[in-house]
């Protein structure tokens, strides 16, 4: 009854795999596609370690059944750097020590990335809201806010906008 062949675009590349409803997007990414950057922190959508973008939206990939993302575009942490150039967020996270153990970082990065796509100058409150589904036990959230502000500023400059007066 079910066609288990699934095609989707992951980090800009067309990928195909077979899966029934027993697998999640998270397990397909990690096991079938070897993209182990996205982590499993709780397997039930409580912690955000597994956040990836599906069609531009941050979602808990542990709570998405593999067949549900047929034909979708998925972005994982492995897809943030372009041609070896780090995304400003990746640089900023490193510079502000927005992580320590790093296990929450891939999910956190994707939540922040999605925010900056739709909001080029987010307020502190907006940043905290964007990461309110991402749990960090090592570092807290202040350095993440700083990193996002730093990256946002850099992105605005790159796009010629500069800082708003």
């Amino acid at each position: 009854m079910t066609d288990t062949s699934i095609q989707m675009i992951v980090n800009g590349q067309a990928r195909q795999f077979d899966s029934d409803s027993s697998r999640t997007l998270l397990s397909v990414l990690r096991e079938d596609l070897g993209l182990t950057g996205t982590k499993d922190g709780c397997s039930q959508g409580d912690c955000g370690a597994c956040v990836v973008l599906v069609d531009g939206q941050p979602v808990n990939s542990c709570m998405v059944l593999a067949p549900q993302v047929r034909e979708s575009e998925v972005l994982t942490v492995e897809g943030l750097a372009v041609n070896g150039d780090f995304h400003p967020l990746q640089r900023a996270f490193s510079e502000t020590w927005a992580f320590q153990c790093g296990f929450c970082t891939p999910g956190m990065l994707l939540s922040c990335y999605a925010l900056l796509v739709s909001n080029s100058e987010p307020s502190r409150e907006e940043i905290l809201t964007a990461i309110s589904g991402n749990f960090c036990r090592c570092t807290g959230y202040q350095a993440v806010v700083k990193a996002v502000e730093q990256a946002a500023s850099e992105l605005r400059e790159m796009s010629g906008g500069g800082d708003r007066p």
Partner: protein, 292 residues
């Protein structure tokens, strides 16, 4: 647990055929943020998962009488929709503190209704706004008031061959204000200890025309605090009356104790939150009155 088949039909008719043929063994999956958990806990063990993402059930349409929301509209979209923010602000508000962004991007209004959790956050506003829903099966469709939908925790009147296809909200009369409040242990990723929606509509002379006070997480189903509503009918609200109504609403509730809170605390909080909600909504109406 056997792995369920997964189907994403192209048309609603195809989906209804499956439901007609398989019944309760075919479960509709939208965002899955609740369903998947229940499947893992073996509360449900469906044979087939029916995903309606290809069927256009995610529209928000508004005319001069009502707004019609498809069940697959996500909580994020509701939160960001300008029409909903203007016309049904408590509904938008109920999505604002719902879990976190990744869950809001998947969770849907249909899912929140059909899961029928007594603590469902969207349901009190929907009830306060007199929502109706459309249930369709192969043999036809029926429209019913949402207030007639819930029968117990996780239980509804939906038949095994039916699919929820629409949520209808009548436009509110002029001089209406509403508010949604939620009490949780933290500001995100929190299941409501108590939640509620208060919607008041005022007559031109300033008296109360309609009062809706709906509480969640304090009874087996979302609770219409009818005695409180009747108590306030036709009045111009004073602090004493608000306090009285809050007490009545709290008395109507029958909350359980669980790992999040005791029943006694929930009952106390019902009173506090109803009072706060009534106060703020009445003040908002009074300000509008001043503009009349």
């Amino acid at each position: 647990m056997l792995t369920p088949d997964y189907i994403a039909p192209e048309t609603l008719e195809d989906a209804l055929s499956i439901k007609s043929r398989i019944g309760a063994g075919a479960k509709v999956i939208a965002g899955g943020t609740d369903l998947i958990l229940r499947m893992r806990d073996r509360v449900f063990e469906p044979e087939v998962l029916v995903d309606l993402q290809r069927v256009s059930l995610d529209s928000i349409v508004c005319d001069e009488r009502e707004m019609r929301i498809g069940p697959y509209v996500t909580l994020s979209r509701i939160l960001n929709d300008t029409a909903i923010a203007a016309l049904f602000p408590a509904l938008a508000e109920s999505c604002r503190h719902f879990a976190g962004p990744p869950i809001r991007n998947r969770g849907t209004i249909g899912g929140n209704i059909v899961n029928a959790s007594p603590a469902a956050d969207l349901v009190p506003p929907l009830l306060a706004y007199d929502a109706r829903i459309v249930l369709r099966s192969l043999s036809g469709q029926r429209e019913l008031a949402l207030t007639d939908f819930f029968t117990g925790p996780g239980a509804t009147v939906m038949e095994s061959d039916e699919i929820l296809t629409e949520v209808i909200l009548p436009l509110m009369p002029a001089r209406t204000a509403s508010c949604f409040l939620k009490l949780g242990h933290r500001r995100s990723m929190a299941i409501s200890i108590v939640n509620l929606c208060v919607r008041l509509s005022r007559d031109a002379d300033g008296t109360l025309a309609a009062a809706k006070i709906v509480l969640g997480a304090v009874a087996p189903t979302p609770l219409h605090a009818v005695s409180a509503e009747e108590f306030l009918a036709g009045k111009k609200l004073s602090a004493d009356q608000i306090a009285g109504a809050a007490k009545l609403a709290s008395d109507d509730s029958s909350p359980i104790s669980d790992v999040r809170a005791s029943g006694s605390y929930r009952r106390q909080m019902a009173e506090v939150l109803v009072r706060r909600a009534l106060t703020s909504v009445w003040e908002e109406l009074a300000e509008e009155n001043a503009d009349d």
